[in-house]
Assembly symmetry: C2
Homo-oligomer: 119 residues x 2
């Protein structure tokens, strides 16, 4: 999941799974999108990311932290995550990838459907 694509970027069956472009692990792209409007708390992140377990989200956030994309803050006994400048700068290539995916949506769809089944 890399970008807000119709019908819903956070759908159970995510439309942008069609795109071969990936940012970090399974949840990184969505976390980025959740954080682009400002810091969010751990449990706030779990709401739009339906189905992510605490363990997996933690792991994802830790590796984003290790990569310098996200900063973890503890303030007033509350934990929140926010994009670093580096993380924020990665929104540009993400938008480029998203634009490409939207632009070539039909071709991506056709390619998959053109394949009979497993081969």
């Amino acid at each position: 999941m890399i970008a807000p694509l119709a019908p819903d970027m956070f759908d159970e069956i995510c439309p942008s799974d069609l795109s071969p472009i990936r940012f970090g692990d399974k949840w990184t792209g969505m976390v980025m999108r959740c954080l682009e409007d400002g810091p969010r708390r751990f449990s706030e992140l779990r709401v739009p990311l339906r189905g992510v377990t605490a363990k997996v989200l933690t792991k994802s956030l830790r590796s984003m932290e290790r990569d310098g994309l996200v900063r973890r803050r503890v303030a007033d006994r509350q934990v929140s995550y926010e994009l670093t400048l580096l993380g924020r700068s990665m929104l540009a290539p993400m938008d480029a990838a998203c634009a490409w995916a939207r632009e070539h949506w039909d071709e991506l769809l056709d390619a998959r459907e053109g394949v009979p089944a497993e081969r």
Copy 2:
């Protein structure tokens, strides 16, 4: 591996492994770069992609074919692979990702080094 980065994109320890941006599976990005100047035969691809086994390369190429990025041709008893128009169009977001990685190389490096070890 997503782009020609110093010192060598095909190095055993690939410098662009630092970037969290991925195109397809492990070899897809490199295959794209190998094909951008024209069609290549199966064994031609194995040369720059040091270490890839036939099985893994085949699997990678098949999934790129399924995604519509690559076309497999058999002509005169020779097999060659070439980028489709869709595949060629994906070079744009790849270049964007590559530019981002080059631009933020130091930050990416610092982020990794700032981490004591495993946590």
